[in-house]
């Protein structure tokens, strides 16, 4: 046994789970698949008194079209995401980014909500959520509130969730029309966290101009980032006039907390990041233009 001792709770409903979180008053941590939390416990990077296991709560699992968006239950496994046809049609970026997460043995246990609530800036789902303006449903005994992705990630492994709140589900907007989506990542080994990566969505109007774009950045700050300046620059541009390398360079402008570690310096990560954005942009445009 490597983890420090803790008490274990397995509530059978979301109501029971949030009641437990309220009663335990800040001393509890939610676990679903545990693929990020258990290594942290094993390495004793995390200590906690109580684990509340929500991995088996049915109402927190599932993938459904609801109005204009796709609802994904927080405890839905990444393997279920990978196999879901509705999801692949509605939110292609979410489907395409999933094989980049760990390995299939990890995806069999790891969950969508777990990845997002863990808030690793080098993780894939947070970047997709930020790029697409997803919305998170946080429930507690005080009620349910919606948190937009843009204000959810506060810093390294830090989110806007209060200690008594449970991430119940995520709503991803569904893009229709002339769209293209692509993911590019560079990692030292397949399945490792990326040194840098990019997720890109683009929608074109009938005249071949950029109607909207979404550029999410992986591993390029203390939180998942969105290249808003580059997106603003792209709005309304004729697609044939846009050089992917320029978009890559613009997407790196203004990044001020790119990490430096033994895998690479901040300057190196930005060079890799620019290349990943350029490639993902080119791929997404190719799809949108039917090329």
């Amino acid at each position: 046994m490597k983890s420090a001792a803790f008490d274990y709770h397995r509530p059978s409903s979301a109501d029971e789970a949030v009641q437990l979180l309220a009663d335990l008053d800040g001393d509890a941590k939610v676990i679903a698949g545990g693929q990020s939390l258990v290594p942290m416990l094993a390495l004793r990077l995390a200590y906690l008194d109580h684990l509340v296991d929500v991995g088996r709560i049915d109402e927190l699992r599932g993938i459904e079209r609801r109005n204009g968006s796709l609802w994904v239950g927080a405890a839905t496994t990444q393997a279920s995401v990978e196999r879901n046809d509705e999801l692949a049609r509605s939110v292609p970026l979410l489907a395409r980014v999933t094989p980049f997460i760990g390995h299939f043995q990890i995806r069999n246990r790891g969950t969508v909500g777990g990845s997002i609530a863990h808030a690793d800036p080098a993780a894939e789902y947070p970047a997709v959520a930020v790029a697409l303006d997803a919305e998170f449903d946080a429930v507690s005994t005080r009620g349910t509130r919606t948190i937009p992705a843009s204000s959810f990630f506060g810093g390294m492994l830090t989110t806007a969730l209060e200690p008594d709140e449970l991430l119940a589900g995520i709503r991803f907007p569904v893009w229709t029309g002339r769209c293209g989506f692509a993911v590019q990542e560079f990692a030292r080994r397949h399945g490792d966290f990326a040194i840098a990566g990019a997720v890109v969505g683009v929608e074109l109007d009938d005249g071949g101009r950029v109607q909207r774009s979404a550029i999410g950045l992986i591993g390029l700050g203390s939180t998942p980032k969105r290249a808003t300046t580059a997106e603003a620059e792209l709005a309304g541009r004729q697609i044939s006039d846009v050089q992917p390398d320029d978009i890559g360079a613009q997407a790196m402008a203004g990044l001020d907390d790119v990490p430096t570690d033994l895998h690479g310096s901040a300057a190196y990560r930005k060079r890799v990041g620019a290349a990943m954005v350029a490639r993902a942009w080119a791929d997404a445009v190719t799809e949108a233009t039917g090329g």
């Binding site: 046994m1 001792a5 094993a42 390995h103 299939f104 397949h190 399945g191």
Partner: protein, 154 residues
């Protein structure tokens, strides 16, 4: 900290125990069930040596607490061979292709390959490499392991 009663099936056999919540499934299998075929390399989810099937899905037994497997069906490498000890097809292929040397990583590979071929009986070479990417081997250079899976994938 309160111990928790659990019941699960391991290789077809009912097991009941009372465990500390922090006991991993891997430690439970090795120390409480005496099933030492499940090996522990890194104990934080990187090496894949501890891979077992939980309700048919390959998972890392070091990244799951035994309490989380309560009510589940767990299959370890010991459950892969026949009752008479006959090697499974995956095990035979690894032997035929020199897919192991020291054998430390082999239980994890046997379980991962079994799960991979169950989902996809005829994987392409890329799919094989992708499917094996979550298991580390420090001896073979992987070529024998890849060859074993190719032989089974025909």
């Amino acid at each position: 900290m309160a111990e928790v009663p659990i019941e699960l099936r391991v290789n077809g056999q009912e097991r009941s125990a009372t465990v500390e919540p922090r006991l991993t499934l891997a430690d439970f299998l090795r120390e409480r069930c005496a099933l030492t075929g499940t090996h522990l390399g890194c104990e934080h989810g990187v090496c894949g040596a501890c891979t077992v099937l939980v309700d048919g899905d390959a998972v890392r037994a070091c990244l799951m607490f035994a309490v989380q497997a309560d009510g589940s069906e767990v299959t370890t490498v010991e459950g892969m061979s026949g009752a008479d000890g006959a090697l499974s097809a995956v095990q035979s292929a690894l032997r035929d292709c020199h897919g192991l040397q020291c054998g430390f990583c082999t239980p994890g590979f046997v379980v991962s390959i079994t799960a991979l071929l169950c989902d996809n009986p005829h994987p392409t070479d890329d799919e094989i490499r992708e499917g094996l990417s979550g298991n580390l081997c420090r001896c073979t250079g992987y070529q024998g392991i890849l060859q074993a899976v190719r032989q089974l994938a025909l």
